[in-house]
């Protein structure tokens, strides 16, 4: 089998994908106290619609979307709203958050849910369901999904590409999701096929998930769905949107454009599953699959976790730490965020919680750039990261923009390779935000 891949750049970090889980015991314990931020997505934060003292049921609306690019927030547990507070998000930003003390009865937990038929609904109705359920891109970018599904007029979609690459080290939650819920994903794809009417549906994944791919293919066949699984080389960042599209359809998304410019819409596999739950089970996005891993965690594993559960509770569930962690990361180690305390809650975009030991982090002192060119070898976008770094350092932002600063996808391949341990991605982020701000001022 010839594996597809993006042609230039990329790195091969150690996989460390420890796929430990048990089908019977997939659900994490419910949080005693759930902290549910009102801003878990790109776009305007949701408007709080509950007050302290309110009793909420499971799946009740807590926050209402405020505009087109925004998203609803729902209660992941039933109970009493005890506080509305400021909470640090994994990204370091602060958001208002609804704190719920779990009590009362679960309306859905442990029960067989009714399945609703959706074949007779119109596209607008289906998109409305997705919007009401508060579904956002679950690969980490958390872009509201209903916006993506609303195609501009007269645009015919050619490829619906499902991102199941999961190219970050440690992360295995998409893999487990595909193994456990292949039929549900297939049903989700059928719904998407009705909404978007694409010519092709392709699920891209790294070859290290071959068993999951085969299972999906089987499921497609059973359900008579015209979709295919595309196996990709194990190479980071295979799951970055632009690289995934390049690998699967062989076309580059032009700089500064959206995938739709080459006839593509790209959704994460977990998002497809969430769409299934919303449409078939009438269930909003209140839980997701999460990898808990890293060398510092005693029993790493994959769990289905309610939004709002704290990292502390999840790590305790995994037996606690067996070694002092240096970094606790929300997401994968290449693009995830470090947190400074363990009370940060799981949000819709959290694909994993990884606690790394000093031995895994491998930090070293920063030195001058050695001009070794390894950053260029790593960059999938054809940039010269060492030069960009220097330009931003010297306040030559215009020149940096001209050299492609805004094409940087912040995958971190350059910094991973850098023997001088320069904070390349950090510098690029800083450069981009300075540029955005100065543009705003003009």
């Amino acid at each position: 089998m010839k594996l597809k891949s993006f042609p230039k750049g990329g790195i091969h970090p150690p996989h460390r994908k420890n796929r430990v889980y048990s089908s019977d015991d997939l659900n994490a314990s419910l949080p005693k106290i759930a902290v549910i931020p009102l801003s878990q997505h790109i776009g305007a934060p949701a408007k709080c619609v509950v007050n302290v003292g309110d009793i909420v049921k499971e799946d009740d609306l807590l926050g209402e979307a405020t505009g087109f690019v925004s998203s609803n927030i729902h209660a992941s547990v039933p109970g009493e709203v005890i506080e509305i507070k400021d909470q640090f998000l994994p990204s370091g930003r602060v958001s208002k958050a609804v704190v719920i003390e779990t009590k009362g009865e679960f309306s859905r937990l442990g029960k067989d849910l009714d399945k609703y038929t959706w074949e007779d609904l119109s596209n607008a109705e289906l998109i409305q369901i997705v919007k009401d359920a508060g579904i956002v891109g679950m690969g980490g970018a958390t872009f509201p999904t209903h916006v993506k599904l609303t195609l501009p007029d007269n645009v015919k979609l050619k490829h619906l590409i499902i991102n199941a690459a999961e190219c970050e080290p440690y992360l295995t939650s998409d893999h487990v999701l595909m193994l456990e819920c292949s039929n549900e994903i297939t049903e989700g794809l059928k719904i998407l096929k009705k909404i978007l009417d694409p010519e092709y549906i392709q699920v891209g994944m790294e070859i290290n998930k071959e068993d999951a791919g085969d299972k999906l293919t089987e499921s497609f066949k059973l359900a008579n769905l015209d979709a295919s699984v595309v196996f990709l080389k194990n190479k980071y960042p295979q799951g970055a949107e632009k690289n995934l599209v390049r690998a699967i359809i062989g076309k580059e998304i032009p700089s500064g454009k959206l995938p739709i410019s080459v006839g593509v819409i790209n959704l994460n596999i977990s998002t497809v599953y969430a769409i299934y739950e919303a449409v078939v089970l009438h269930r909003p996005l209140v839980e997701r699959f999460i990898t808990i891993g890293g060398g510092a965690v005693k029993n790493p594993g994959v769990y289905r976790v309610r939004i709002g559960t704290s990292a502390r509770a999840l790590i305790e569930e995994c037996g606690g730490f067996n070694e002092e962690p240096v970094k606790v990361i929300f997401g994968g180690p290449m693009m995830g965020f470090t947190v400074f305390d363990l009370d940060v809650p799981v949000t819709k975009g959290t694909s994993g919680i990884i606690a790394l030991t000093a031995k895994e982090v491998k930090s070293a002192n920063t030195t001058n750039c050695l001009k070794c060119g390894r950053c260029i070898d790593g960059c999938p976008m054809g940039l010269v990261p060492s030069r960009l770094y220097k330009l931003i350092d010297h306040h030559q932002l215009d020149e940096a923009i001209k050299s492609g600063l805004n094409d940087c996808v912040e995958c971190g391949s350059c910094a991973y390779n850098c023997p001088a341990h320069l904070f390349l991605v950090q510098k690029f982020r800083a450069g981009k935000s300075i540029e955005r701000r100065s543009k705003g001022a003009k």
Binding site: K8, I11, P13, G92, P169, K242, R246, G250, K251, E252, P254, S255, G256, K257, V262, P325, V326, K327, V328, I329, P333, M334, M335, T338, V339, F340, D341, L356, E360, V361, K362, S363, A364, N365, T367, N368, C369, L370, K371, C372, G373, I376, C379, M381, G382, L383, V384, S386, D407, G412, A415, Y416, N417, C418, P419, A420, H421, V425, Q426, R429
Partner: protein
């Protein structure tokens, strides 16, 4: 537990560092240097020690001035070691003191720090230092020792070939033949390979240098894009043209002799591949390696000096910024038809 580290992504690393790169290269050079001490005796040891100490001393002084701490990144040690390896094994009078010190100080102060320290120099510091003292104290820099003895000889095999060819009208078919004819010490390929020849302290044993090079190749520190074109281009040109000097016509050059003698192996694997002074992209590295190979051939065969490696690499170092400018990678997403499928 309360002290979690917060940082911008990526949160982990492949583990290489400036420290590990520099010390790996130093380690790779060690066998060959020790071989130099064995065949050339104590005088060579002192020269290497003086080179290293003066390089470290220079770095320390500049650290104090610029309030930095770069002494432990290993780059100054490596520069000193390379300078020592490029020195002849003995010098008359006090030259064994001031020549290495001159070379190391020139390398550290002028070549490296005048341009901003590690990573900002545009010429390999060790080579810069060596070439500086070569032209300043040519007399001391061209005094060679016969291996395993205390005898002083006038020339390395390459030097003997060069001088032997001046006004030569005999019928030697190649460099080895010529050496046997004009000098009393005959040399075989095996001598060249093992390092039983005259030469700089660290350059004589091709075998041990190759072992070091293999270590660096495994550690992915040196790149084939530089050393393969360098060796191939050099070998091809030698093969085509060197036979002419002995009157045996084109396509009859003695490639093996030229690869094993002089500082070629040391230069190809340890100096041309210096990260700081070689191009950034694979394409650029191939151009650079090709240029190094061609210039080494040119300087060695047609130049006034028997060697050529140092000068060739320095000349190519100088045009590296130009190579970088014209070998930038293509930016993703700037093709109108979206590129082709794999």
């Amino acid at each position: 537990m309360d002290k979690l580290k917060v940082s911008s992504s990526p949160q982990f690393h492949n583990g290489d560092s400036t420290f590990s790169v520099m010390w790996s290269v130093s380690l790779a050079l060690l066998p060959s240097t020790i071989w130099g001490f064995i065949v050339f005796g104590l005088s060579s040891l002192w020269i290497v020690v003086v080179s290293i100490l003066s390089a470290l001393c220079g770095e320390y002084i500049l650290n104090k001035i610029y309030k930095k701490n770069t002494l432990n990144d290993g780059s100054a040690f490596l520069t000193g070691l390379l300078i020592g390896m490029n020195m002849p094994p003995m010098m008359n009078g006090f030259a064994w003191l001031y020549v290495p010190i001159g070379a190391s100080f020139f390398a550290i102060f002028i070549v490296k720090w005048a341009f901003g320290g590690l990573g900002n120099n545009w010429m390999n510091p060790a080579l810069g230092g060596r070439v500086f003292v070569f032209f300043s104290w040519t007399k001391h820099m061209t005094l060679w020792k016969v291996p395993m003895t205390d005898a002083v000889t006038g020339a390395t095999p390459l030097g003997a070939v060069k001088s032997g060819l001046l006004g030569y009208s005999g019928s030697a078919s190649g460099p080895l033949d010529l050496l046997n004819e004009v000098s009393k010490d005959s040399v075989s390929y095996l001598d060249l390979f093992l390092g039983k020849i005259g030469g700089s302290i660290g350059e004589v044993s091709a075998l041990l240098l190759l072992i070091g090079a293999i270590f660096l190749i495994i550690k992915k520190i040196i790149r084939w894009e530089i050393y393969v074109p360098y060796l191939v281009v050099f070998a091809v040109f030698i093969w085509i043209f060197d036979g002419n000097r002995f009157g045996s016509g084109y396509f009859s050059g003695d490639v093996l002799f030229h690869i094993l003698s002089g500082g070629l192996i040391l230069g190809v694997f340890f100096m041309a591949t210096d990260m700081v002074t070689s191009p950034l992209t694979s394409k650029g590295m191939i151009i650079y390696g090709t240029g190094c190979g061609f210039l080494t051939f040119l300087f060695r065969i047609y130049g006034a000096n028997p060697e050529g490696v140092s000068l060739a690499i320095i000349v190519m170092n100088i045009i590296v910024p130009l190579i970088n400018r014209y070998t930038k990678p293509r930016l993703f997403g700037y093709v109108s038809d979206g590129g082709s499928n794999e």
